[in-house]
Symmetry: C2
Subunit: 251 residues, 2 copies
DNA sequence: CAACTAGCTGTCAGTTCTGACAGGGGGCCT
DNA sequence: AGGCCCCCTGTCAGAACTGACAGCTAGTTG
């Protein structure tokens, strides 16, 4: 394993385009005996109250799933209810899943998704959650058509390799294909703005911040207002929550 | 190697006490040829503006570092400036470090820490950052006294195993020793309180929330006030930021 | 130089929040 | 039954925030 894994990780350094990465993943999954794969990675949105989306912006995705399934999946907004996704969002360890066996605490909608997944040929698989700093998140899901016993054997054999590989893969993809999912028109706060937001986040009033930074209260409000405008929100509280979720209020 | 790794991961399931885990880590590190180890894991504080601490509460720690170094390290508050820690907080991949070689973009204080680390016998090592959902964070650092070439050989051989092991270790520790670092007097928001905080986080005013939840504005303010009191803060904004950082306002 | 950016400051009307004074109802446990 | 907790509601004064009007300096870049 060791040699193979190191070789794979090494190869990651030479990949450049989305197609490179996709081909790489396809090859690796096949070599291990998996029949399909899917990867999604990006930055999580933190304000998911009535969230329709999980990611801030469309994540970078690669998969060999049937296109009808992907379309259906996207149309129905399955992503945020999919058991594999939900579990990945709150777990740190990889895990295997079986659509047929169901899972404890599963909700009706999740069961529905599982049933439809089976029809699409996704019966069982193994997923690796990838968590990084500042809401960085990724998910690798590999599917196997084999019977359960054979599947378990494959998983037992490769789970650690897949784990390591997934993390390296995610890191490489997110570093190398940054503009990719693009269309970000990424907003940026000035130094002053994020500085003031940080103080706001710990409960300082405008007047207090003005004392801290040796500027007038008016100026503090000016910067706060600019931050709010940039973030497209109408209250400091929302601005702080959003900038944290966007990773703009650094650390 | 695979068998060994699987065996180690399997053994993690049987550990119960902090001493169990510490002995486990000591054994694993030694077997791989490392001379010392240190682990720290807990929940990150998100409001780290002028943060003196990195963790919300004292993290679970285990290490075989010299006690004088640990004391000195704690007294001086090195944790938040230590290159290994800083790097772990923003990286997703493990990495080796050499105190002597220094590092790009290193700050004076970091250099100072590195120099003192060398005196304490920490010359080079390998660290694994562990990121989880909801500000879950851990760090495993293993130290090697060998010369650089031998060290590199060891790292090359075991880095992936250490990576996998660290993640599993962290997960087991955090799940199994929850009350441990204890003394949390962990505060808890009621269902209503966190529900209202979530709406507040996305910029809703009290009046709007009252419409959404079909209660009076007064009641919304009542719950917000209770949340603020529990969190020990004096503004909604701070309450939202803090509850997010504490993982109370779920993801 | 003109245009642009980041930072800074002033006033003011209207809205929102905060913390204090009150109170009632339902459920759970001893 | 009494004690707690959670949920809900009312009023009110003072503080804080928001968005609009306005204008200043300094540095960078085409």
């Amino acid at each position: 394993m060791d040699a193979i894994l190191s070789h794979l990780v090494e190869r990651l350094n030479h990949l450049r385009t989305q197609e490179d990465f996709e081909a790489f993943l396809r090859g690796a999954a096949e070599d291990m005996g998996f029949d399909m794969f899917a990867y999604a990675g990006g930055r999580l949105a933190a304000d998911r109250v009535a969230a329709r989306t999980v990611f801030q912006r469309p994540p970078i995705t690669m998969s060999s799933f049937p296109s009808e399934w992907l379309t259906h999946y996207a149309d129905e907004g399955y992503f945020k209810d999919d058991y594999v996704v939900v579990q990945s969002l709150r777990a740190i360890l990889p895990e295997q899943w079986h659509a047929e066996r169901g899972v404890r605490e599963i909700r009706p909608r999740q069961a529905q998704i599982m049933r439809e997944a089976i029809d699409a040929g996704l019966r069982r698989g193994f997923f690796v959650p990838i968590h990084g700093p500042a809401n960085d998140f990724g998910l690798l899901n590999v599917i196997c058509h084999e019977a359960e016993t054979e599947f378990s054997k494959i998983v037992e054999r490769y789970k650690h390799e897949l784990h390591v590989l997934a993390v390296h893969f995610h890191d490489a993809v997110q570093k190398r294909l940054p503009a990719s999912a693009g269309r970000g028109a990424r907003l940026q706060l000035t130094e002053r703005e994020s500085e003031i937001l940080r103080w706001t986040a710990v409960g300082k009033t405008s007047w207090e911040i003005s004392e801290i930074l040796h500027i007038t209260e008016r100026t503090v409000n000016f910067h706060v207002a600019n931050s709010m405008r940039k973030l497209g929100v109408y209250s400091r509280t929302h601005a702080v929550a959003k900038s944290i979720s966007l990773g703009l209020t650094q650390l």
